[in-house]
Symmetry: C2
Subunit: 406 residues, 2 copies
């Protein structure tokens, strides 16, 4: 009933010294020390984040040395057997937006809709993708971390958002056909009815779906830190993504998940991490888990949201924290997944009806019903439209469609 | 009647290779080649522009290497006998605003009014001023280039603008009592009745007054490029500044002036430069002239206003342009100034009545009257309130107060 399976485990790499500001003074030795920590707990990959305006300070200038620093980081990862996913357009990192002067203030132009800016970004995506694709240990490029956080300061609408991402994914795919090319969005795409980035973008664009599960989105207020809604939120999001895709075999990468304070207190970090990994680890759609993040943030750096300072698997002086130990134990254990499970019918088809997203948000009746069922074991999500499609259900490992009232 | 005098002549240093983006890959040799051009035409100083968010990417992080690069540039200037004025907060450069992520978008805070941001800037001003003050060839720090261009994207009002500058000038003065500490504003402070930075800021704050004369502000439309209004605009602005100061001996630095296309065509650059230098060179309040700018802009760099590409004294491959030759001839000639001149009474007291700024703007009746008189030789500006103050008039070299109707 529980066949072994292969899930990839990694970390979002946040430099222990100088956060991402360290790109301005890149040190391979500092990176080496950090990545040794991650390899040491059995992780197989890192997701890395160049900072856009420092690489492309002018629309027609891509700094060679900055590209070389990124390539050096990729090589350092290879020294430790780590493969690398590169997010291109940062863009958004931990509450801060990094935007070049050529889109700001007197040059105020939306990164999503201005044609000259889009051409500039296309060049950036093309150049960086070609460069990193030449490295054997790079396996993916993502357009940028949670690019929907660049809205509303960069105006867009759902049509423009989708065209923007589709166009840039085409650029990346042409530049590196052998890499996974991916889109990345924070979970307002799933839960906010008015959000101008749609669930269809998550599940149609890119070679697999990425989701970012953050329990401070409202779910920890339900029963956190160790309640079932909180511990299964990552699994829930993976399920929503799997149910929304047209392809029943489309994998879902849990590209970000972490143990944010104060939602998850220091004493609860270990059982929380264990519980969420156990839950999501049973999901047959799961492609991989990438923890946010590798290292804590130096409290000497100002203006970050409080929760950002303690998200590391490791402290700034390289001590493994409880979440690191739980993640390591999970990674090193034989992993298995139930062959089949029941499914709950979702009232909304998020792909076709994005205006109904509130019906699946944390705290909604459907979410509550799913969490209740999930206490007895894995439970899938299926849309009404496909609840009678036997081949589809089989492909997703669904043996029973529950007609439960939510 | 024309005693010799000492006026300082220099250039605003714009790197020939990579514009200010070159700070991200600073090369002392590139700077050396550029500054050799400037010393070669007899200039005595450069005004230099570090880029704020690259030095202080986090409110509590000032990058040592970036500071060292600035100090190296100062040392390179010393090799050529050039003294250096450092503008601190860029901030604004050639239509682009460089602002750190900690004041933008999700952290949206006005650099002028947010208390934490002001503290961060105060630290920046303190650290940079102390560092550059240790170099013998540094003579001035200016808070930042035309900081009023950071408005309206950074909200402010006239009270906040003045407090902001006064507070930061105190920081700089405490950090380096032997340097000139200066404020810098573009000419909307003189001409725009609603502008939230006042003429009083120019003439009360800092150790001398700085003015930036750009004929694309409307004056070239009157009679440019070689008409009297255009050629005397720099002199007019120096006069307005002198007339607005309470201290009749307060010097005025023409900190920026240039020959912008298309207002001044390539064929007119030489006579335009000669004419404007002759006119302003006769002004007894003139402390110095700093040409904008040292070097043209590589046309491979995008998104600059068209006029910015050809403002250099030198091309990107170090060829002296006509303006450079005229500036050199002017610098090397014995300079003199009439001992006395008549004055025209200005209808508005700009220091006390900033709402009347339109009455002195290019094209106003007063401006027209002044330009007409100026054709016969130097003519001062005096406020009605001080037109009968003999000691004041004498201190400003005014021998006659004209009762001309404007």
């Amino acid at each position: 009933m529980f066949p072994p399976r292969s899930v990839r485990y990694g970390a979002n790499y946040v430099p222990s010294r100088g956060w991402f500001y360290s790109w301005l003074d890149f040190s391979a030795d500092d990176a080496r020390r950090d990545l040794a920590d991650l390899a040491g707990i059995g992780l197989d990959h890192v997701r890395v984040f160049p900072v856009w305006p420092w690489i492309q300070p002018n629309r027609t200038l891509i700094r060679r040395r900055a590209v070389d620093d990124l390539l050096t980081l990729v090589d350092v990862a290879a020294e430790f057997g780590l493969s690398v996913a590169v997010d291109l357009l940062q863009g958004h990192l931990s509450s801060f937006d990094f935007l070049p002067s050529w889109v700001l203030t007197h040059h105020g132009r939306s990164v999503f809709t201005d044609e000259a800016v889009r051409q500039g970004i296309a060049t950036y995506v093309d150049v960086l993708t070609r460069e990193v694709a030449a490295k054997d240990n790079v396996f993916a490029v993502t357009l940028g971390n949670e690019v929907n956080n660049l809205w509303p300061h960069n105006p867009t609408d759902s049509g423009a958002s989708r065209r923007w991402a589709a166009e840039l994914l085409d650029v990346a795919r042409a530049a590196a056909p052998h890499l996974l090319t991916l889109h990345s969005l924070y979970d307002a795409t799933w839960y906010d009815p008015a959000h101008p980035f749609h669930p269809a973008d998550n599940v149609d664009l890119g070679d697999l779906t990425t989701v970012h599960s953050w329990v401070f989105n409202g779910v920890s207020a339900i029963d956190g830190p160790l309640g079932p809604a909180t511990l299964t939120h990552a699994d829930y999001l993976v399920e929503l993504a799997a149910a929304t895709a047209t392809d029943p075999a489309r994998p879902v990468w849990l590209q970000e998940v972490g143990a944010p304070r104060p939602d998850v207190g220091a004493d609860d970090a270990a059982p929380y991490t264990r519980g969420l990994l156990e839950a999501v680890g049973q999901n047959p759609a799961l492609w991989g888990v990438t923890w946010w993040c590798s290292h804590d943030l130096d409290r000497g750096l100002a203006d970050f949201p409080e929760r950002e300072y303690d998200l590391g698997l490791f402290t700034v002086d390289h001590q493994a924290k409880p979440a690191a130990k739980e993640l390591e134990a999970h990674v090193r254990a034989a992993r298995a997944v139930p062959r089949t499970r029941p499914a709950l019918v979702c009232p909304a088809d998020l792909r076709a009806e994005p205006e109904r997203r509130a019906e699946v948000a944390p705290g909604s009746a459907f979410h509550g019903a799913w969490v209740r069922r999930r206490r007895s074991g894995p439970v899938a999500v299926v849309t009404a439209r496909r609840a009678g499609d036997e081949a589809y259900l089989q492909a997703r490992g669904i043996d029973t469609v529950l007609q439960e009232q939510t």
